[in-house]
């Protein structure tokens, strides 16, 4: 309390006050503002300590402690994590089968013939009808029916785990591995999101605040095998690799092969992060602080709603936007004739020598070019192109129309007619892991980084790796096989 009496009768000149302030300030070590913050906190602590009384020192709830004890324990931490994620993928793959079938039944089985009839009735020329209905509509229908159910199952499950408080514990468990490769511990969270969808995984890197480590997470996200690629892996593994084993082991062997590819993806994530943080993205490991929030029962309906709106619909919309023109390109390439051959046949011929060197074939390479919009349409495109090239009759729906066969055996027979071997299958599985991200992801990377340069790096790096790995496998195969 200042009173009149405390005022000095002769007020010091302003200059003197400023001089005193300067002198006092130069006596304070370090940053004045930080000293102030610390002093304010210390005062607050003192005042709270005097004024606030707490009944007892409230320990953390016993349940939280027990959960943390198991979920981050030396013995149980990693197995629980692996099991939980394996379970999540299993539910996604199994659970998506039926709804995928329904949607495909509706969009491809019923709407598609109806649209054909309507356009015939309208008297549209055959090429416009083919372009619109067989090309654009069908590719969109494929993307929606194959993409929507797994995303609608995976994303809410992921968000529920997030809401429950488990995901920060995963980052906590895995941080050391990411620290060793010069990346951020929270990259493990965007990596797992990437197993659902790489575009969503790239968006999820926003939780990493250091720009350098965020770029690493974005560039390596494509090595997480996304939902769109699991069906390819499973189909090819069960046709070509499962059949190598006795019948009762076939399921296990093909599941093992798919898991091996997914684990290879994780190993590459770490290896590429390591290489990036030692070359182009060199820099100090930034600070890491992670809050481990208390566990809480997730808000089920709210989570369901927000994850559907924020993640599923968002990703699906971008995929559809890219699928429409891709459908047109696919249809045109199979129907435009130049000198007696379709454009697709020319392209396959051009790509054939390269495909051969890589242990793949021209059809696969072309399918990966036209199927950039979504990995989901790779298999339908491969089947369509294989029919086109082998001239198999009675299979499929006509030139430029993507389709899937009802039985795995029929697909295998068609592919073998197209000249596929075990090497083709193994390399296709590797190439499916290691190729450019889909256009939705590429666009998302551009949106998130705002840089053409890093978008190009993120796009071409996996592709170059894919060429290298398949080439090496093909060479080893031919030397020792």
């Amino acid at each position: 309390m200042a009173t009149e009496a405390q005022h000095s009768p002769t007020a010091p000149a302003v200059a003197d006050i400023l001089e005193a302030a300067r002198r006092l300030r130069s006596g304070i070590p370090g940053d004045v503002h930080e000293q102030l913050v610390e002093a304010i906190y210390a005062d607050a602590e003192r005042i709270a300590g005097r004024a606030v009384s707490r009944p007892e020192r409230r320990a953390r709830p016993t349940l939280d402690r027990t959960l943390d004890y198991f979920l981050t324990s030396r013995l149980w931490g990693f197995p629980i994590m692996l099991l939980l994620f394996a379970l999540m993928f299993w539910i996604t793959i199994i659970g998506a089968n039926a709804p995928s079938g329904w949607i495909s039944d509706l969009l491809v089985g019923q709407c598609w013939p109806l649209l054909r009839e309507v356009t015939v009735g309208l008297g549209l020329p055959w090429w416009l009808r083919g372009l619109l209905v067989d090309g654009m509509y069908l590719s969109t229908a494929w993307v929606v029916s194959v993409m929507l159910p797994p995303m609608a199952i995976f994303f809410p499950m992921f968000t529920l785990l997030e809401d429950f408080g488990y995901l920060p514990r995963v980052a906590f468990n895995l941080d050391l591995a990411f620290k060793k490769v010069g990346a951020h511990g929270k990259q493990s969270m965007s990596l797992m999101m990437g197993f659902g969808c790489n575009a969503a995984g790239v968006v999820a890197t926003r939780i990493i605040d250091s720009p350098r480590e965020r770029l690493i997470a974005i560039i390596t996200n494509n090595f997480a095998l996304c939902n769109g690629r699991w069906p390819t892996q499973i189909l090819i593994a069960s046709i070509f690799i499962g059949s190598l084993a006795p019948a009762h082991w076939a399921g296990l062997v093909s599941a093992g092969a798919v898991t091996a590819v997914a684990l290879l993806g994780i190993a590459l994530t770490l290896a590429v992060s390591w290489a990036l943080s030692r070359t182009v993205l060199r820099g100090e490991v930034s600070s890491f602080s992670l809050e481990l929030p208390p566990y809480r029962p997730p808000h089920f309906w709210r989570t369901l709603y927000t994850s559907l709106i924020d993640r599923t619909v968002f990703v699906l919309w971008r995929a559809v936007v890219f699928a429409v023109p891709a459908g047109a390109v696919i249809w045109l390439s199979a129907n435009l004739h130049v000198g007696g051959m379709t454009v697709a046949q020319y392209l396959i011929q051009y790509a054939y020598p390269l495909g051969l060197v890589l242990g793949l074939n021209g059809v696969i390479l072309l399918a990966y070019v036209v199927a950039i919009p979504a990995n989901e349409i790779v298999i339908p495109t491969i089947l369509m192109l294989t029919v086109l090239v082998t001239g198999s009759h009675g299979i499929g729906e006509g030139a430029g129309v993507m389709f899937e066969l009802d039985s795995t055996a029929a697909t295998g027979a068609l592919l073998q007619a197209g000249g596929w071997t075990l090497l083709t299958a193994v390399n296709l599985m590797l190439f499916s892991l290691l190729h450019n991200p889909c256009s939705t992801t590429i666009y998302t990377i551009y949106k998130e980084t705002g840089s053409v340069k890093w978008t190009v790096v993120a796009t071409l790096l996996p592709l170059v790796l894919g060429f290298g790995v398949t080439l090496a496998v093909a060479m080893l195969w031919r030397t020792f096989g």
Binding site: R25, S26, P29, G30, D31, V32, H33, E34, V37, E38, Y41, A42, E45, R46, R57, A59, R60, R65, D68, Y69, T72, S73, R74, G77, F78, P168, F172, N173, L174, D175, L176, A177, K179, G185, S210, P211, R212, G283, E284, V285, S286, S287, F288, S289, L290, E291, L292, P293, P294
Partner: protein, 345 residues
């Protein structure tokens, strides 16, 4: 008779070359003028630093600092004399008032920009000096006033150098090279020289920062061993020469060796936060303060990751995981074992 296209292309080429302001020649001239200004400002900076620290600037020292030949340096100095920046009397180089003003501004701009990079951007520490070397020639005195206000008028740059106030003089460097520090005596690291870059990068990678307390305990075997921030550091004399110190009266070596850091706290123990190390600054420091790692806070180990690092700490009712590198920056004291009831997990 040359054809019309030929004439036209000649005209276009001439335009590209000689267009005022935007042509190749004009740009080249502008670039040369800028380069000359940069050289002259760098020379002024060198002369100022020499004068302040009682050294004698010479033609050779200017040439050495600017990495130019002696002949070029002579030309440069003659030019600067003509512009009234320096005087050259009997080989003695002195700043004239205008030159001193300009030199002070450049030094101030450099150090302010380094502070800005350190405090408000995520730019890697190794790049600060290099970027500031360029920026110092682009900032106007008005810019530096605005920048200083935005940074809260800092007194020191991240290397520990004094930032001269607007219109004030540059104080002399007060520190001595760390090589010359006495054994078993606590000292304060005052400044870390940021040139040459490779040497600075090595010192920085060791986590040494101005403001740290250090105590040399051995100078044997061609290296200098000292204790700072709860760890032993080893530097070669060449590296140590780039660090300067001032004595730290009132502190005994024992105080320094007994300092404890959060990284040393075991599960089942609690301690009080005493403060953050000076090695922790900028965004990282603010983040830790925001999370509640402020003096007086009680802290205990909650969980250790299955891999051994990071560790989760309980601070003010929340659980925060930190890597060992961060925990090493937090000073603790009053270490005690938790009562059995609370410690049981």
């Amino acid at each position: 008779m040359p054809s019309l296209p030929f004439l036209l292309s000649l005209l276009i080429i001439a335009g590209l070359l000689f267009w005022p302001g935007a042509g190749v020649v004009a740009r080249w001239r502008e670039a040369r003028r800028r380069a000359a200004r940069v050289r002259s400002e760098d020379a002024l900076k060198h002369v100022l630093k020499c004068e302040v620290n009682g050294q004698v600037p010479t033609l050779n020292s200017v040439a050495g600092t600017l990495h130019i030949r002696d002949g070029q340096a002579a030309e440069l100095l003659a030019d600067m004399e003509q512009h009234g920046l320096v005087t050259l009397n009997e080989g003695r180089l002195r700043l004239r008032p205008h030159g001193r003003e300009l030199a002070l501004h450049v030094v101030r701009a450099h150090r302010l920009w380094e502070s800005y990079l350190a405090e408000q951007t995520g730019v890697a520490e190794a790049k600060w000096h290099h970027l500031a070397e360029r920026k110092e020639h682009q900032l106007s005195p008005e810019d530096t006033i605005v920048l200083a206000a935005r940074l809260g008028n800092p007194l020191h740059d991240p290397h520990g150098d004094t930032i001269p106030a607007e219109g004030a003089d540059l104080p002399a460097d007060t520190g001595q090279p760390l090589n010359t520090a006495p054994l078993d005596t606590p000292v304060l690291i005052l400044h870390i020289e940021d040139e040459p870059e490779a040497v600075y990068a090595q010192i920085q990678a060791l986590g040494l920062r101005p403001g740290m307390k250090a105590c040399i305990f051995s100078k044997e075997g061609g290296c200098i061993r000292f204790w700072a921030d709860g760890r032993e550091h080893v530097l070669t004399p060449i590296l140590a020469n780039n660090l300067t110190y001032v004595p730290l009266p009132g502190t005994t070596p024992g105080d320094l060796f007994e300092e404890e850091f959060l990284s040393g706290l075991h599960p089942g123990e609690r301690a009080r936060v005493l403060g953050l190390s000076t090695a922790c600054r900028g965004a990282e420091r603010r983040r830790l303060l925001d999370l509640g790692f402020v003096p007086g806070t009680m802290i205990e180990v909650e969980l250790v990751s299955p891999a051994g690092d990071p560790t989760a700490y309980r601070v003010r009712g929340t659980v925060i995981a930190l890597r060992r590198e961060q925990a090493r920056l937090i000073h603790i004291g009053n270490r005690a074992t938790l009562p059995a009831e609370a410690a049981s997990k």
